[in-house]
Amino acid sequence: MRSKVVLGRLLRNRQARYGGIALLLLIALAYIGPYLGAYDWTDKDFLAFLSPPDADHWWGTTSIGQDMYAVTLRGMQKSIVIGLLVALFATGLAALVGAFAGYFGGWVDKLLMWGVDLLLVLPSFLIIAIISPRLRGASWLWFVVLLAAFAWMITSRVVRSMTLSLREREYVQAALYMGIPRWKIILRHIVPNLSSLLIIDATLNVSGAVIGEAALSFFGFGIQPPDVSLGTLIAEGARNATGYPWLFAFPAGLLVLLVLAINLIGDGLRDALDPGSNS
């Protein structure tokens, strides 16, 4: 019943519809777009270094003559997947750990929060420095896991404290008196009532992951040259943003569009999940 009602409300929600269309268009651009361009992302045009956008190179070229259009779209393919997956993992983990800790209390709470605090105080780059040599050459999924692993702790603390107050609500007690297992109560009654917070967190995590991934690439981990991602492109383009704006503007613009689309979907989802809003 709930999924049906929420889905219906989501489809009727205008923001969610626009956001969804925008996201679909961006995905289409990332995966179909490269076939429309004249160049492949590995091609180097030795006649045009750092040329501004023109009819031949639609979005200009890089300092080594790569076609920006092809390169940016190539980067976006990775970034969309990484951004969405990291957001999903990080927020999901935060919700589960926080809600379980808050709901069960006692030693479960102590243990989980001890883990959270440990991850918070340990400098993340230290861990990455230790882990990265072992994972070199491993699947990029590991990379997603690592990114997500450092993005969930603070949210989970917030979730925990909100759960502490939700736990006392009568409907949570009512569920217990109905004989519903505790883990189900958490998934069914606690997490949905935190959805506003979780959705905001997830949308923030998308952009955080895309940018954060560039930082990780610094450690020689994740997306390695010559392969690219939106993050690495933005990081590189930012250095010359005033001299050669097209190196920065296109990847950054696409990231903004991506985040906007995700935000719209998030807002729509929040409204659809929140019965108080009349959409």
Binding site: K4, V5, A174, G179, R188
Partner: protein
């Protein structure tokens, strides 16, 4: 001479929402005007508008004259001078009226000094006098206490003391006793009467409780959807109501003297101020509705000496001498089959045997140490037979909620036994406990808090069904919704989209889903308006009879209990003071506490209220962390005070346990000197006889 004249007062909130739509009344010196209405009727907004306390964005029009001086549009400085001097207000929640960081005495003295030119010492002395006047023991010591150190009843008294500090001409009391327990309410109402006698002020008494109004008011104004619909002398309104809404309201309140059989509910809900019906605002719920009612809103017209009614059919009602029961359809509730079998032969569904629940009292933020024990429940014993309703009543802090939690948890108690349907809770394994949960369900007090706001109603009701692996869930949900008087289409809506009464029905539907044998009702109607309350009470009664349910009904409202329960157990400080069949306990209470409790409940009957004699209790409930030795009630017991020294010794030394009274079959009291007397209708007159 009227002190306050209100003419055509309207209040409009942003968005064109008219909360008050033309209220006019007068209050004379020494007169008490009662304003009754349900939540959202605009009764509180009216008084806030008079005091000039509404938020800036509310548009107020009309006229409010105090001693002929217009208050609306007066500048803030002048208004402040009037407020607290000529008019004072008493709120429902006294805690918000005091600043937590100053002592009560200082704040009252401050109130005196703001409006009168007196020295500090004199003001402080006056504060102590005032506290004495409102019956605060050791006023000189208590004046130095901070607001949070006062109990709810004491705070309300202090608030009254502050309100009368400057001899106001008019007191506006907004639900002054709603948050208080009955015995405390009786005390506070008494104080209000004293305060009025002392100051000779006019009082505007706003409340939803028709019993309180009956005892206090000279005249009554009934409000509905932002307008007065009937106004008149208190006896006229109560005995000869002429507007269907008033009639329905009076017929829908349960009475503690058990005067009526079935409650008459008013169907439907009050209209939202944003979407008023075209004609009479009561039309959608009015059984006397005719086409002409929708033409225009009937104005409040005078029908003889000081009576005003807003109904086009009032003359007809007058003529035929109709009452609420004539106008509103009286629901027929099928009798119960189980009840015909004698109680001893029925199965026992719940048995508590000497149940104890103590909590450690901890102190300290970092290193917690135990500083005492809260005796929340201290050895209670009762049982419930099949098809029976046992009510557990008592004031806040008496341990009824703890008892209920102990039963619902189905875990081994600290001491004693809980036996549900023949199964001892200390011998249950996980599977047996889950199975038993299907037979034991609960309906909570606050229907908003008890339903997950993020779940459609269909899922809420389906939840227990799915958890216990039942088949045909959607069909059963539709059945349940129909059973509690809602439509199956409602399953897709969220709880917010329902009114309070409907939400409570959803809560009941969920409790019924697994076809339980015993339902625990935790104050199921106390959060609802009177007209809605009646419908839910009737539903509970009907379901019980039809489905052969048993109820454990936890409540503080003794009038509702009389209506719904077969047996009643009165709790005081974690122990049962009196237990027995409802007729026995209500008509011939034997424990001094029950007697006080029953006599404190106001009756919606002005004549009776005027002649009734009240047994007033002294002081507040002692802390359950430190109950008195011997009889726990002795610190407040009116009987104890009248006993001889030798008899008193027994109360102090020996804790009474529930003993069956000789004359009745089902009636017991925990008092060494139990003696049955009649208190509900007791009057001075009877006393003399």
């Amino acid at each position: 001479m009227s002190i306050l004249e209100v003419r055509d007062l309207t209040v409009t909130f942003p968005g064109g929402i008219q909360a008050v739509r033309g209220v006019s009344y007068d209050v004379a010196q020494g007169e008490v005007l009662g304003i009754v209405g349900e939540s959202g009727s605009g009764k509180s907004v009216t008084s806030l508008a008079i005091m000039g306390l509404l938020p800036q964005n509310a548009v107020v029009s009309g006229s409010v004259k105090l001693h002929g001086q217009e208050l609306l549009g007066m500048d803030e400085g002048e208004l402040t001078r009037v407020r607290g001097k000529a008019i004072s207000m008493i709120f429902q929640d006294p805690l918000s009226a005091f600043t937590p960081v100053y002592t009560i005495g200082d704040q009252i003295a401050e109130a005196v000094r703001v409006h009168q030119k007196v020295g500090k010492d004199k003001a402080a002395k006056r504060a102590v006098e005032l506290l004495d006047l409102v019956g605060i023991p050791h006023p000189d010591v208590r004046a130095k206490a901070f607001p949070h150190e006062f109990s709810g009843g004491m705070r309300q008294r202090a608030m009254i003391a502050m309100a009368i500090a400057n001899d106001p001409d008019l007191l506006i009391c907004d639900e002054p006793t709603t948050a208080l327990d009955v015995t405390i309410q009786a005390q506070v109402l008494e104080v209000l009467k004293t305060a009025q006698a002392e100051t000779g002020a006019g009082i505007v008494m706003i409340t939803h409780d028709l019993g309180v109004i009956a005892g206090m008011a000279d005249r009554v104004l009934v409000m509905y959807a932002g307008r007065p619909v009937e106004q008149g002398v208190v006896d006229d309104i109560y005995y000869r109501p002429r507007m269907p809404y008033t009639m329905g309201l009076l017929a829908s309140i349960p009475r503690v003297d058990g005067e009526q059989d079935t409650l008459v509910p008013i169907e439907g809900n009050p209209p939202s101020p944003a979407a008023l019906p075209p004609g009479c605002p009561f039309a959608p719920r009015c059984p006397m509705h005719i086409d002409a009612c929708d033409d225009e809103e009937p104005p409040l017209t005078q029908i003889g000496g000081g009576r005003y009614v807003a109904c086009i059919r009032s003359r007809e009602i007058e003529h035929k001498g109709m009452t609420g029961a004539d106008v509103f359809p009286v629901p027929v509730i099928p009798p119960s089959d189980v009840a015909r079998v004698p109680r001893e032969e029925r199965e026992t569904v719940l048995e508590l045997d000497n149940l104890v629940r103590h909590y450690p009292l901890m102190k300290g933020a970092v290193f917690k140490r135990r500083v005492g024990t809260v005796h929340a429940v201290d050895g209670i014993t009762f049982d419930i037979a099949e098809g029976e309703t046992l009510a557990l009543v008592g004031e806040s802090g008496c341990g009824k909620t703890t008892t209920l939690q102990q039963i619902m948890q189905l875990t081994p108690p600290q001491s004693g036994r809980v036996v549900v349907l023949g199964k001892d809770s200390s011998k249950l394994d996980k599977a047996a406990r889950k199975a038993l949960r299907g037979d034991l369900q609960i309906v909570f007090q606050d229907p908003m808090a008890a339903l997950d706001p993020r779940m459609p109603v269909g899922d809420i009701i389906a939840e227990p069904l799915r958890a216990h692996g039942r088949k045909n869930v959607p069909q059963r949900v539709a059945e349940l919704l129909t059973l509690v008087g809602l439509a199956p289409e409602h399953a897709e809506r969220y709880p917010q989209q329902f009114s309070g009464g409907q939400r409570q029905r959803i809560g009941i539907a969920r409790a019924l889903a697994l076809e339980p044998k015993l339902i625990v009702l935790d104050e199921p109607v106390s959060a609802l308006d009177v007209s809605i309350q009646a419908g839910v009470i009737n539903l509970l009664e009907e379901l019980k009879n039809r489905l052969g349910l048993s109820y454990l009904f936890v409540a503080h409202d003794l009038a509702v209990v009389r209506h719904l329960a077969d047996r009643v157990a009165v709790m005081y400080l974690g122990r049962i003071a009196e237990i027995g069949a409802v007729e026995n306990v209500y008509d011939r209470p034997a424990h001094p506490y029950t007697q006080a409790l029953l006599s404190a409940i106001p009756l919606p009957d002005p004549e009776m209220e005027r002649s009734r004699k009240r047994i007033l209790l002294e002081g507040d409930l002692p802390s359950p962390a430190d109950p008195p030795s011997g009889c726990r009630f002795r610190t407040r017991c009116p009987k104890f005070a009248r006993l001889s020294e030798a008899e008193k010794r027994r109360c102090v030394d020996e804790e009474p346990s529930v003993a069956r009274l000789a004359r009745a079959k089902d009636h017991g009291a925990a008092c060494h000197y139990a003696e049955e007397i009649e208190v509900i209708t007791a009057s001075e007159h009877q006393e003399e006889q």
